[in-house]
Subunit: 544 residues, 2 copies
């Protein structure tokens, strides 16, 4: 619906960003005649986070060298500065799932339309966003072929083939790949793009517990817990929490999606939900789905169980995407640029020589090199910026814009005192460190920065949570950009009604998740929206 | 041209393979009524490598659990057993290029048609194979969008944007991704597929040497060596050689592609060429291209050099693909299945308990567990196969089919003697190892297997090389499935003529590479094909 608007706003951003990147070499003659430079350093952001969040974000991802806008709307270039963050998370997550005996594989990018359309609810969820290949060279293909928006329908015909007996289970696969969803709502770097990178895990189980549940004919959606399957859903969700909280220093809430918001075709969806205080919007951080036996039924994933009877597999699927990086930038970034948590920063410490005309320049450079060497030997990712065509001040701004957690300055005085000056990116705190204590103190500072970023983000997030009981309170809190925790009757019609009643320029509110940690719900508590008896506390808000 | 034939032969293979995979659970009642089982173990291959190489290959990649055929022709599923090999190579290569300060990034899958067609020679090379997206959901796109067949045209507009001054150079990027080439010639798992995984490196340089060369107006194609650029081309080629020779144990020849065979739009292409003795076909193993300034001209990758003058960047691009895995299987595989070189095997040692009815089964199982533990602690990738529904004999065949380099059997006699029996996959050699020497001896054996595989492959390959001087000798050698080393005049028209004159059922011969190691070329030596004065020794043959 907002297709036209979205692409024109996209174009505007692209233009803005491209003029901005040209500001990078202020002293070269090539810079002459270019657009007016904002600050002495030439590196300032034009927009402030609190004043114009959207423009600030577009500018910070480009000037921070995370993203380049691409000539196809909704597609973005992940530059090395962003890609290295993805790689840190990938290294962690890949090792963790390998411990869980999950194996990597690679299924094709393409799906035939017959297979794609096999699971009805599922395809209804994805059909409008599917990109279709219809030609190769100058020839029309016999049948259009879809590009995967997700790989359930790509993989499960082969699960059916590979799973014959109970000994073939569990089958636990994962792939790191790109997927395409040709969305028309407002594209946003990392957060909503037409192509993105993710991992998608797909697992099939047939534990005794599951088999028991099957035999007892426990009805679908009864809320019964199917043990191994359920445990794995939550084990993966815990990894997602760790990615956000331990690596990206972004607090998330674990919970379950409503029937309306769950994965199309699945049984239930668990999620880690983040929140962006500036826009008052929730962000679905990553999801781990129990698919139940729905896909197994459609794709005939049957097996012979231990008793020689035919049974059907229980399946999960789960994914996190490059969206994680966008959430991190939105939460921690400031008016100076990106702020990187040390754990994901490809450069944790940038060492800047601060020579004066009459100083021992070589001595300063040597001290910088020695500092980098010591830090690297201690397992800290450090680099020095020796460029001679930029001033120390320019370099400070440059690395602040890129979000390096800690800057070390070495000038004549530091050299004389056998010390370095360390400056934190997160709070600008400055401290002199004797060379003798260098690695120990830097490690400590990096740990503190990581913790501080999380603590402050959590404070801010928590300050945005409002508990409400009535519709009036709900609307007021929503207007104040809050994440609203409200007692709910858990009826799909009521959620649809909430959406309708809150429609407006800012987008409708929806349920974000029902948190696993439930506050007490006194008997007689009524649903904030319908007045019916409340069944649970649920988070509501506008969302990306 | 062979589109119809290719897809029908593809279908045939798929049918064959799918019936084959169903043989896997011979003892379950589900196996009843299925196709006749070839051997007692149910695991034999139907085809022999020397008798019907094509069918043997299709069967071995499927039964060895490397590949599953997919319902879209030319697309294949990389199963974990193959993916783990890709990951080993990726870990090696990624670390090596990071040492060279090459950074990973990710550019979009999609290219707009205007950009794709900017470099004329380049697009002529790729146009017939480009897959086009023309629809999303039910709507037609305003303009068709191409799926990348390679990313020169995707990336270089942004190289142009990012490179302003000489200090922005070198720019050294790499990405791990999928690409699509909708080919119509005979699809073959790993070797020729419509989608494949690769890394593609793209680098731009402006060293003093290059700048000098530029100023002196050294003409393109003059053969002048442009130092840094050229060095990097060869540094990368050396990594490709190491992947083949050190990891996959496949001997390759380093050399330069002819003008006719070089990368479309580039200046020159270097290659590592492998050879498959059974089919007498060369395989382009991986290529490292010097693009010269051709793309820089088209995409305006200009910069201000140290003297303040406008200059143009020198570029390289280089890639290796999942084809590597196919070459390895073709070279080492035998009538029992895949043969994995230890360095790339995700399971290097499989431990099989061999209990007898009256034996101490628990003792044997414990010894297996202790063996796996010791090996793992020594950094060896080991697993035990404790399944109780398969006989030891079945397990031997199963792991031989999958190509595990070393099998360890532990039976009652071994338990009594505090030893294990080790059996090599490559040559069936059996040896008893005292438990006390376990890890040391196993390491030694794995190293030997790795070396033996390479040595034998090299012997076989070398035996296929024939030196010829005349057209008659050339045709005869070609008929004997040889790789032909011949003196050549290095004229493109002559190469085209060779192609025409050798056309036939087996496909035409072409130049494979001009090896860097050139035998002596006595003055007066004539070209094997044209009779003109020869300029170099070049390898010729049929090729994948």
């Amino acid at each position: 619906m907002a297709g036209k608007d979205a692409s024109s706003s996209e174009t505007k951003k692209k233009d803005a960003s491209s003029s901005v990147t040209k500001k990078k070499e202020p002293k070269s003659s090539a810079a002459k005649g270019k657009k007016e430079v904002k600050k002495e350093t030439g590196l300032g952001l034009s927009y402030k986070k609190d004043e114009n969040f959207g423009e600030w974000y577009s500018e910070v991802v480009v000037n921070g060298e995370m993203i380049e806008y691409y000539d196809i709307s909704g597609c973005y270039i992940l530059r090395p500065w962003a890609m290295s963050i993805w790689e840190v998370m990938q290294t962690f997550f890949d090792a963790e799932i390998k411990k869980m005996k999950i194996k990597n594989c690679y299924f094709p990018l393409f799906v035939s339309s017959g297979v794609l359309q096999k699971e009805k609810e599922h395809i209804e969820g994805f059909a409008p966003e599917v990109a279709w290949v219809t030609k190769s060279g100058d020839s029309d293909l016999e049948m259009p072929i879809a590009i995967r928006p997700t790989s359930e329908t790509v993989m499960y015909p082969y699960f059916s083939k590979w799973i014959r007996g109970h000994r073939d289970l569990p089958l636990k696969l994962n792939q790191w790949c790109n997927v395409v969803r040709w969305e028309f709502s407002n594209p946003t770097p990392f957060i909503r793009s037409r192509e993105f990178l993710w991992q998608e895990g797909h697992t099939a189980f047939a534990t005794k517990e599951e088999a028991d549940a099957e035999q007892k004919q426990i009805p679908r959606n009864s809320g019964a817990v199917f043990f191994l399957c359920y445990f794995q859903v939550l084990d993966i969700l815990e990894l997602y929490r760790r990615i956000y909280e331990e690596f990206l220093a972004v607090p998330v809430i674990k919970g379950k999606k409503s029937e309306h918001e769950k994965f199309a075709g699945g049984l239930y969806t668990t999620t880690v939900e983040a929140f962006v205080p500036n826009t008052g919007r929730g962000v679905q951080g990553a999801t781990s789905h129990c698919l139940g036996q729905n896909f197994a039924k459609m794709f005939e994933i049957n097996f012979e169980n231990e008793k020689g009877e035919k049974a059907m597999a229980w399946q999960n699927s789960w994914a996190y995407t490059t969206r994680t990086i966008g959430v991190m930038i939105m939460v921690h970034g400031d008016d100076k640029g990106v702020v990187l948590p040390p754990k994901v920063a490809s450069v944790q410490v940038i060492v800047v020589p601060v020579p004066y005309k009459d100083a021992n320049t070589q001595g300063i450079f040597d001290a910088c090199a020695a500092t980098v060497k010591s830090l690297e030997e201690a397992g800290i990712r450090a680099e020095a910026d020796y460029r001679d065509n930029y001033s120390p001040g320019w370099k400070y701004s440059h690395w602040e814009l890129k979000g390096v957690p800690l800057r070390i300055e070495i000038g004549p005085k530091d050299l004389a005192n056998n010390q370095v000056r360390a400056v934190q990116r997160d709070n600008s705190a400055k401290i002199d460190i004797p060379m003798a204590d260098l690695t120990e103190r830097v490690k400590e500072m990096l740990n503190n920065i990581q913790q501080n970023l999380f603590d402050i983000a959590k404070q801010k997030r928590d300050a945005c949570i409002h508990v409400v009981h009535t519709w009036e309170e709900f609307v007021e809190a929503l207007g104040q950009k809050k994440m609203v925790l409200a007692p709910w009757c858990d009826e799909e019609e009521v959620e649809k009604d909430v959406k309708t009643r809150t429609k407006g320029e800012m987008g409708a509110a929806k349920s974000l998740c029902t948190p696993f940690e439930q506050p007490e719900l006194p008997e007689g508590t009524k649903c904030f929206a319908s007045g019916k008896p409340a069944k649970k506390w649920t988070y509501w808000g506008r969302s990306y």
